[in-house]
Amino acid sequence: MTSTHVSEREFAPYWSTVEILTRRALVRLVRMPSLLIPMLVMPAFFAVSFTGTFEGVTRVEAFPTDEFINWVAAFAMVQGSIFAGIGAAGAMAQDLDNGFIDRLLVSPIRRSAIIVGPLVHTATRALVPVTVVLMIGTASGLDFPGGVAAVLIAYVAGIGASLVLGALGLAVVLHIGNIRAMAIVQVLAFGLMFPSIGQVPLSLMTGWLYDVARVNPATNVIRMARQGFIGDVSWADTWPGLLVIAIGIFWFGGWARWELEQRAP
């Protein structure tokens, strides 16, 4: 080992670094209501506005449920969770702008902790939208034929989706290097969510959208989150979603880690 390298014992403990970075992000969130409010308001609006706007779609023959909330609640949860993930990327963008990341990069801490900290923060944030949509859904007549499993699966899908988009957001932000990257991340998130079974089933789609939605990974995550609101929870509807989440975290997390390494002095 050359003298420029930091020896193993000189690194700060990994998980305490992650905890500090997570706590810092959460404290910042609480101290800036302008960041906290969209986290609460957005999922509520997703649930209410999608249900209210597209309620008429259920009048089309062969729509799988009479109440649009049963169909769209999962979409609102996953969408809200994804925004939670994007928020974590936004915080990273601001830290890049103000030089905090550069200071972390020359500190004796594990570089992967700089990625994992915001991701833990993201997972914590994702609890909010899922809970908000469940509360609004319950008040709006959301059915739970899947029972408690329906709720648990919804949380798993929400947290998983936020981690995947959080990792993707971090990678894009680190690649571009400033807050303007957020617009691209938002478009990517919408681009992933909308051509899916989020708002209508595959049977109602026409043309190119049917083919895209069928293979869109977001379709599997939404199907996983939705299953307990329109029927029983089954492994067949669960494992494809879990697989997408696992691959997404691994792939985009790896990309973010690589981008961070490129920024290191």
Binding site: S34, E55, V57, I179, Q186, P195, T206
Partner: protein, 267 residues
């Protein structure tokens, strides 16, 4: 030697605003990451919704249109504009964060020019953006019924609306000085457009949501804009859309002006 600066009287406010507006447009243009989403995102939504909801146009309550794509033409353009108008605030917040705003305040630039310049830049860029989106819709077979007159009227409405919406993001930028907080406004604008007749006819909604959508100022702006697209050009529709944009603008620009005064006191 004392260096006194004879501040705003040296240059006409309009000239300074024009220079700052040009800077804003050039600055936006040079960062494709800032404006490409304003084109890609609304077009993506239009493509998806037209494939998702084409069968809904067969319902008896749906207005008579050639296609769902034609129905959402105005919504698509106004959505692109709202995205871009949000960018005006974000750029201003960046100026505040990097200290450029404070340097402007310390320079012999008229105080009004800074705000007017930023908003005028957003309007100019929005007009360009709306024209590009309109051309793309025409290419994909969803041309407005009224031809060039309707197309121009929709572009004018879009540019005017960007001023009204830009007022909100500029106000948040001035209040918080945080680009991240300013970016967070965009989803709220998106939702405000959503709870209107932009993407679905209010005839197919029900209950309190229908009432809210019918009372939403965006509905008052989008409905006449849509008539320009599917029925043809009329001065009445153009005037109605511009009137409601002015009503919204009085509120949002008033907010941004108050925030600007507050920021000046802190600067």
């Amino acid at each position: 030697m004392t260096a006194t600066v004879d501040r705003p009287r040296r240059m006409v406010v309009i000239e300074q605003a024009a220079i700052l507006a040009r800077r804003s447009v050039v600055n936006t243009w040079r960062q494709p990451a800032a404006w490409t989403p304003s084109i890609i995102f609304p077009l993506m939504m239009a493509a998806i919704y037209s494939a998702q909801f084409e069968r809904v146009t067969e319902l008896p309550q749906f207005p008579e249109v050639d296609s769902f794509l034609q129905f959402i033409l105005p919504a698509t353009i106004l959505q692109g504009i709202s995205f871009n108008a949000g960018e005006a605030g974000s750029a201003l917040a960046t100026d505040i964060e990097t200290g450029f705003f404070d340097r402007l305040m310390a320079s012999p630039v008229g105080r009004q020019s800074v705000l007017i310049g930023r908003l005028a830049g957003a309007v100019a860029f929005s007009a360009l953006l709306a024209a590009v989106l309109m051309v793309i819709f025409v290419v994909f077979g969803a041309a407005p019924e009224g031809g060039l007159a309707s197309a121009l009227a929709i572009v004018v409405i879009a540019a005017a609306l960007s001023l009204s919406i830009g007022g909100i993001s500029v106000a948040v930028a001035l209040w918080t000085g945080s680009p991240e907080a300013t970016q967070a406004v965009f989803p709220l604008t998106f939702i405000a457009i959503f709870v209107s007749s932009a993407f679905f006819p209010t005839e197919l909604m029900s209950g309190w949501y229908k009432t809210a959508a019918e009372a939403n100022p965006f509905t008052f702006i989008i409905d006449p804009t849509r008539r320009l697209a599917i029925d043809g050009f009329s001065f009445a529709d153009l005037g109605q859309a511009l009137f409601w944009i002015a009503v919204v603008g009085v509120f949002t620009l008033g907010l941004s002006y108050r925030a600007y005064l507050a920021r000046l006191r802190r600067s």
